[in-house]
Symmetry: C2
């Protein structure tokens, strides 16, 4: 990495025509013999030097970022972007919001912050970068450092020489291999063309029914977008739950909200066939034989890294299908970098290789590759903690680090989880009730993962946990976090800190928890414990689970201990709306000698199953 | 700290009447001889044991939290809260929002989340805690472990015995020692009574003009509240700036916003006298002799820790005036804990003692003292990084860690700062433009502090930085942060990450910055450099600084280098609206051999001085 001392050195040496070059973090001093690669922080070309030629394949997110970063570090490098699509720098994560009518000007998806469309002309004028759109990279000749490219308009083929090549090929939608895939009315939401197609459908208001295949991030966002256009939606998901980055009980809360918007959700069921008439989609048939009428089907069952170009050039690819890179974003060929959705990266917590096709990571990786390609390997990318977030109608749902399921999958056994339902702000500031789930390593007490679901914006909660995970914070650290507090922004004890407090209580043995899932299982299998709702009777009249619970308000509990089981070792479950009073009740019972008392985590608000009232 | 192994131990030992007691993190095993303090996680009283008597002085924030935590850990302890005011557990940070009419039900300031007023009856029924309101603690007899208390209604005085005493005396408003202080129409906003008084004024709409003395958090919040009631406000501040937790150029952006709401701001000027007629306030006289008509004055010039009771009992107090405590929240008497606004705590970054009267910290400290008083010293409070946030009309302003000024005050010299102006979300999702300032240690590259000002809610930005500081993150760590990204929540590169990127560019020598303050100084002193606005001409027509700048759009710069100074070492300053293009222009110039190019940090959006257009 450049350090100030290096900068000074650079200044001193420069005037003596001695060029320091950073290679693999070693500074090499080279006498300026008038040719070759010049390191430094963007100093101009000197007479007789060869220009560094950077070719970037891919012009969506990672590619343009890498190209722009390279330019800022070397004003004289020859930088070319090869882009198959006619558009550049598309804000592809914005497609669902364009389709949903959050804004109307299509150009906003292609614009710089000041409203200039980022086309080839813009790239040349503002950045001195040649961007060749509608041009496909066909093959890489690594021995001669050439990329064969084809102009898709003229069909002209030529070889582009490079000193450093940066692959940002992106990913393509996974498609279900079922009959009828060629019918009219089947699309993905992956390109500007897809966005245009769906926006037209939304505007025309002709189509009444649509099916979204896949209940992940894009599926949910597409569902909302089409729902806003008045289309009746059914989401079909192969897994038993939506949003697989969430644990099932958290995903169930999201599903309940989706259903409350009159969108249909069919889980545990895959697509068997697209049904057509006269070449047009008229329905889908599911694996269980059910048929659903629809005139539109949007496929959103994930993406596959575009690593074919890399693989056919002999570059290593991994089990995830992505191109393998080191921390410098370098492929198995040191002159070729790869970034964005076409690579596999490392999960920082588990060390496992993952495919993490997120626009934010693509940009970070692009910045690193752009610098390393020019300056040598000075910057490292540490990997992902797989942070994700999704707007779901009036809710949002996010996750960072490991879910309980992913912790288990990664072979982590000794962890603890807790669910917290509590408001984000005081009631008098119109606080909204969020539900969070925290996953913590029992031994080190380090935070492994967090999920949050609720109305409004849960991104602050997720961001807080993401930084905590990156900083290696323990539960104890977080219990005493000094966060920005004022009533318009949070509770005195922020929802995230309250979650950490609950976790600490569990780890300290002050609170034994039971999840809604577990309690439901107990009830379903007939081994019903004593269940206490400790709210007031007026609250009980308005809303209640109706699972055989007994109502004893917290304030009366100490006087009504005689109503508890005679056997002090008999199982008792306490809860209230959010299980804060439930926890206090449990402490009262434990303090009076009951040994088997558990708190229903998150209380009624985290109960994802139907309730009596 | 309790660990699971300890919990198991506890269970095993319990049945053998051997009681493990945690003392100073050492587990001591005691045979149950039928008396004395019993450790453990809230196990019930056993025959013949003496109840632990906990007395808590103070019933606002820290006190009730400590009492409730103590109760959860020991169902049988005798817990008493002594509260001078008639109210308990007031949400005092909510007063300005009650006055401002954000909500109308006064009880919401006193309620539990389910709407039950937290009065003595509530504390007794729900928590088994005796809360004595309108009762003053007069003195502490440490030798005999007694607190002398006076019932302010009956004037009855009695001695309360304690095993552990917890002081949560709070703080009182600092009052200006000037003539006229006794006039009618002068208040603070520190108690429910103050809130009632001001809300009445706001509702009655009789008063036309008010002065707020002090431009800190409470002053600004009060200004907004009264402004919403249609009262013409003048803020009088002794310092040259509002919100002293911000650096001056950031505070100036806040001041500009306050002024845009037609509130007057008078800085660099103190109060000399309250002017009265017939016992009623009619105006204030300032130290510079100016007089301002007003019928109401709200004093908000800070608070003083209520440490007199502690001091007169011989407990140590510090230079800040607060009671001295260790990490366990223990005073110089091991049987007395102190928490909240009456103590001084430690700044985690500088190690210096500070008075940090924040409601969130009071709660965290209360939780720790409540536990330690019951279980022995098992939990530690690590101190504050002095995170603060404030709503300012349509803006918010926050800070965490060290400002540039506080870094200097703490004797830190080798730091770097950067200012970033950029949106929080994509333009198509109605992104708002935030301005952030980051302070970083040059050697370690660790983040020392961050400030953020802008429309909407900056609390996510501040929370992200707060956790980063607590986690010891470096600029490099943050440059690759994996945060929750989707267009409704952030840009692909979050504003905070963009800030870290800028900082890295500065530290790496890629960007030399100049602050608005510094450039203004150059202009004012006549040493005007070449100043380049690199936006498009249509943008220039709408808004411009008019400080002698030359307009050369970025896209034309490479062709118009001949318009640059002949001397390649001559100073050049580049900027645009937010100085992103300004930075790119600087890179173009540096790449073409100009050696003295700086970027105006934050561009026009962070320019706090008047502009031509």
């Amino acid at each position: 990495m450049f350090r100030p001392f290096f900068e000074n050195l650079l200044g001193i040496l420069w005037h003596n025509d001695i060029i320091p070059v950073l290679e693999n973090n070693t500074i090499v001093f080279v006498l300026d013999v008038g040719a070759g690669f010049v390191a430094g922080s963007g100093h101009g070309m000197r007479k007789g030097q060869k220009m560094t030629r950077i070719v970037v394949i891919g012009g969506s997110a990672a590619g343009p970022k890498a190209a722009a970063r390279a330019r800022r570090l070397d004003e004289k490098a020859e930088i070319t972007i090869i882009q198959k699509s006619p558009d550049l720098s598309m804000a592809s994560c914005g497609y669902p919001y364009y389709v949903g009518g959050f804004f109307d000007d299509r150009n906003q998806l292609l614009c710089s912050p000041t409203g200039v469309v980022r086309d080839s002309k813009f790239f040349l004028a503002a950045k001195g970068i040649t961007a060749r759109t509608s041009t496909e990279a066909i093959s890489i000749d690594r021995a001669n450092k050439l990329v064969k490219v084809k102009d898709l308009t003229s069909q002209h083929i030529e070889d582009l020489p490079y000193d450093k090549l940066i692959l940002a090929n992106g990913a393509r939608p996974r498609m279900p291999q079922v009959p009828g895939l060629g019918l009219d009315g089947i699309t993905t939401l992956q390109s500007m063309q897809d966005a245009d197609y769906l926006r037209k459908i939304a505007d025309e208001k002709k189509i009444k029914k649509a099916v979204v295949i896949g209940g992940g991030l894009i599926g949910i966002e597409t569902c909302e977008a089409l729902h806003l256009a008045g289309i009746e939606i059914t989401i079909v998901e192969m897994l038993p739950q939506l949003l697989s980055f969430l644990d099932p009980e958290m995903a169930k809360l999201v599903e309940n909200h989706v259903r409350s918007k009159n969108a249909n959700v069919i889980g545990n069921n895959g697509l068997a066939e697209f049904l057509g008439k006269d070449g047009k989609l008229v329905g889908v048939k599911l694996q269980n034989g059910a048929e659903i009428d629809c005139q539109l089907a949007v496929v959103a069952i994930g993406v596959i890294p575009n690593s074919d170009l890399a693989a056919s050039a002999g570059l290593e690819t991994g089990k995830t299908g992505g191109v393998i890179v080191n921390n410098y974003m370098q492929t198995s060929d040191p002159d070729i970098y790869a970034i964005g959705d076409c690579i596999e990266t490392v999960n920082r917590i588990t060390g496992q290789k993952v495919h993490a096709p997120y626009g934010d990571l693509a940009n970070l990786q692009g910045r690193i590759a752009g610098e390393n390609a020019i300056v040598g390997n000075v910057k490292e990318y540490p990997g992902t903690i797989q942070t994700g977030i999704c707007k779901v109608f009036d809710y949002s749902a996010g996750s960072t680090g490991l879910s309980e399921r992913n912790a288990r999958r990664a072979g982590i056994e000794d962890f603890e989880t807790v669910i917290n339902a509590s408001p984000d702000k005081p009631g008098f500031m119109k606080g909204l009730l969020l539900v969070s789930k925290l996953v913590v390593d029992r031994k080190t007490r380090k935070i492994l993962g967090a999920q949050c679901v609720g109305p409004g914006d849960v991104s602050k909660q997720i961001a807080e946990w993401a930084v905590a995970i990156m900083g290696g914070l323990t539960v104890e650290d977080y219990c005493n976090a000094d966060l920005p507090y004022a009533p318009p922004f949070s509770l005195a004890i922020d929802h995230s800190i309250a979650t950490a407090h609950l976790m600490q209580n569990k780890l300290d043995g002050l609170m034994a928890g039971i999840s809604a899932e577990e309690l439901k299982h107990l009830i379903d299998t007939g081994s019903i414990p004593t269940i206490l709702d400790v709210r007031a009777s007026d609250e009980y009249e308005v809303m209640r689970l109706g699972i055989g619970e007994k109502l004893i308000p917290l304030g009366a509990l100490r006087k009504r201990l005689n109503e508890m089981p005679a056997d002090k070792n008999a199982p008792i479950i306490c809860y209230c709306k959010i299980s804060l009073r439930g926890y206090e009740a449990a402490r009262v019972l434990v303090g009076n000698g009951y040994t088997n008392v558990r708190v229903l985590e998150g209380g009624i608000m985290a109960w994802p199953y139907p309730r009596e009232k």
